[in-house]
């Protein structure tokens, strides 16, 4: 055929192409970042299970190897394209879960407590959830031979969740398997944007995306058990059961997951809708991880906040850092307040006694109130009576130290039964509750019987439900400062007496 007169140019073009391609493939050999064998991490100590390099944490890498610090990108790389997600994550507690100063020092103190009993190796238990990338790179070791990198300081960095392939919430203690050593792109930023196949291989596998939507994923860290060697006790201690609490609740039965509230762009509206029986799952999820730590988002603390949060994260400057935290704080406050309700349901005089019944309800949380490791986070009720001159005639629960205060908290106890107030996990022998925490959509009624002196007239009854993220003992132990921790008003109710 006559058109074949163009065959020369056809074959010449093919020849050019194959020539160029061959040169490109020869000159640019395949870039391979592989994980590091545990044996190749110098001085890596494995005092317990040799097959589980991160024990007593339940963390695991998909290839069974340690993370390669040269390859794993910092979240400050991700911000180049995922600015919105990065800016949501920055003020959250997930970004500072490893660098939060109280946490970090708490680890040091606990490690020191067990310095002759593999204290440093024991810290893998805590950091499996708080700083999993650092753990997976082998940094929690008596002799650190792993080079530093930004991502190790970012707590739950992007690469952690976005490479996760498996989670076991029943097991808890950080039982997440993540494909850390595939968490890098071979392509440059612009090439990724043209064709994100490699990016999807590294971060967005269908398996990962599906897992990230599940409550089981969150539960792998928000279920925590202490057992040897973490505790000297021989029994399993349930330190945190947030996932279990959710699992047996109305929320789980109605497929309202952790993400639906904690990663919702409009969490308060969502919780309000749930209270009205409307379940409308979000179309898109935020990376704010709304939670219960209002102090570490309080910018009025100024440079102290920076200090407490362990400095500024890579990829953001101080001014921007404060702006982002400021943006998150009001919603965190509202989020906390949306969880609980207090009602004075009955008040009556019996002889010289005033009987007051207060109902405390968990109206907005899909887990118990309070939840988490509640040896520190705790909630208590204040009942205050004032007379017609606004003089206080009774006030129980003004502080969480008052006698007979109604308080919801865990008590860690040592071998002798003495209460541990400073979160010395590794010497915790037993855990008890001061009173049962309040399950979702349930209430507890507290009855007060107050003896009134003759002629005393109560004009106003006030019930305040307070919340505090930690006890001062923890701050004294970790920061060597006696700083009062601000209490937060979750809910209140007032009744005027006629």
């Amino acid at each position: 055929m006559k058109f074949l007169k163009y065959k020369k140019i056809f074959f010449l073009s093919l020849l050019v192409f194959f020539g160029v391609t061959s040169i490109v493939y020869i000159v640019n050999p395949k870039v391979v970042y592989e994980g590091i064998n545990t044996d190749d991490v110098n001085f890596y100590s494995l005092p317990w299970d040799k097959e589980k390099p991160f024990f007593p944490g339940e963390l695991a890498t998909a290839d069974g190897k340690m993370g390669n610090p040269k390859a794993i990108p910092s979240s400050s790389e991700c911000v180049k394209c995922h600015k919105k997600e990065f800016e949501e994550w920055v003020p959250s507690l997930h970004s500072i879960s490893g660098r939060d100063l109280v946490y970090e020092n708490s680890i040091e103190v606990n490690v020191d407590l067990m310095k002759n009993h593999h204290g440093k190796e024991l810290s893998r238990f805590c950091d499996s959830c708080h700083n999993p990338i650092e753990v997976a790179m082998g940094k929690n070791n008596p002799i650190v031979s792993v080079e530093p990198s930004d991502v190790q300081t970012e707590g739950l960095a992007c690469v952690f969740c976005h490479t996760a392939t498996h989670a076991d919430a029943e097991l808890g203690n950080g039982a997440i398997t993540f494909d850390l050593n595939k968490a890098y792109d071979n392509l440059s930023g612009s090439a990724i944007l043209a064709s994100p196949t490699d990016h999807a291989r590294a971060f967005g596998s269908a398996k990962t995306n599906e897992l990230l939507k599940s409550a089981e994923f969150c539960g792998a860290c928000h279920n925590e058990r202490y057992y040897p060697p973490v505790t000297p006790s021989t029994k399993v201690l349930h330190a945190q059961s947030t996932y279990d609490e959710w699992k047996s609740s109305w929320y789980a039965k109605n497929d309202v997951t952790c993400q639906d509230c904690h990663m919702n762009y409009e969490p308060i509206k969502f919780i309000g809708d749930l209270q009205n029986g409307i379940i409308k799952k979000p179309q898109k999820y935020s990376h704010n991880f709304w939670g219960g730590n209002h102090v570490l988002q309080d910018t009025s603390l100024k440079e102290k906040l920076l200090f407490l949060r362990g400095g500024v994260l890579p990829g953001v400057d101080v001014k921007e850092y404060f702006r982002l935290i400021d943006k998150q704080k009001p919603i965190t406050d509202k989020f906390l307040k949306a969880a609980a309700k207090v009602q004075i349901i009955e008040q009556k005089q019996e002889a010289n006694n005033l009987i007051v019944k207060v109902r405390v309800s968990n109206v907005g949380a899909g887990h118990n109130l309070p939840t988490g490791v509640v040896d520190q986070k705790h909630m208590w009720l204040e009942l205050k009576l004032t007379d017609e001159n606004n003089q206080t005639i009774y006030d129980n629960g003004k502080t969480d130290r008052d006698d007979n205060v109604v308080i919801w908290a865990e008590r860690f106890r040592d071998k002798k039964g003495k209460i541990i107030m400073d979160h010395m996990t590794f010497k915790t022998h037993d855990i008890t509750l001061t009173r049962p925490t309040i399950p979702p959509r349930e209430s507890q009624t507290i009855t007060y019987k107050i003896a009134l002196k003759d002629g005393m007239r109560v004009a106003k009854i006030e019930a305040n439900l307070w919340y505090k993220i930690a006890y001062e003992e923890l701050i004294i132990k970790t920061l060597h400062r006696n700083i009062p921790i601000p209490k937060f008003l979750l809910a209140n109710d007032t009744k005027e007496q006629k």
Binding site: V24, N186, L193
Partner: protein, 142 residues
């Protein structure tokens, strides 16, 4: 006319070959795949600009000479196919260039669909182009 055909044939060969290599072989060596992709994208953009001006001229010069209906129909289908190929290709180029300004990107699924559309129409365009050329030189084509 001859120059138009020569340039179009060589560009099509280079684009189809580089596109196939990237689509199917890049995972074997992403580093090399990236260079192939850069070549593919920039050549694609240059060729798109060229076609946007060259095709109307080509049609204008030759439309009145074409007598056979099947050839005419084939030419229009070819043009439509070129349009889809170029459009889906540009959709890949927009995020690529945006990286240097304000990054724009789509959902993974969207990328996947655009890539498939681009691949299918590029293949179809090549076949139609080959047919176009063969009919063009067939006796009595015009």
């Amino acid at each position: 006319m001859k120059q138009f055909a020569l340039f179009t044939i060589s560009a099509t060969v280079l684009l189809i070959a580089s596109g196939y290599v990237y689509y199917f072989l890049a995972p074997l060596n992403w580093g090399a795949g990236e260079i192939i992709m850069h070549i593919h994208l920039w050549l694609g953009v240059l060729f798109s600009f060229y076609l946007v001006f060259a095709i109307p001229l080509h049609v204008k010069d030759n439309n009145s000479k074409v007598k056979r209906k099947d050839f005419k129909l084939l030419s229009y289908v070819l043009m439509a196919s070129i349009g889809f190929t170029l459009f889906s290709g540009i959709l890949h180029f927009i995020p690529y260039i945006s990286y240097f300004f304000t990054p724009i990107y789509y959902q993974f699924d969207t990328y996947d669909n655009i890539s498939k559309i681009h691949l299918v129409f590029a293949t179809l365009t090549s076949i139609l182009f080959l047919l176009h050329l063969s009919l063009h030189y067939k006796k009595g084509a015009k």
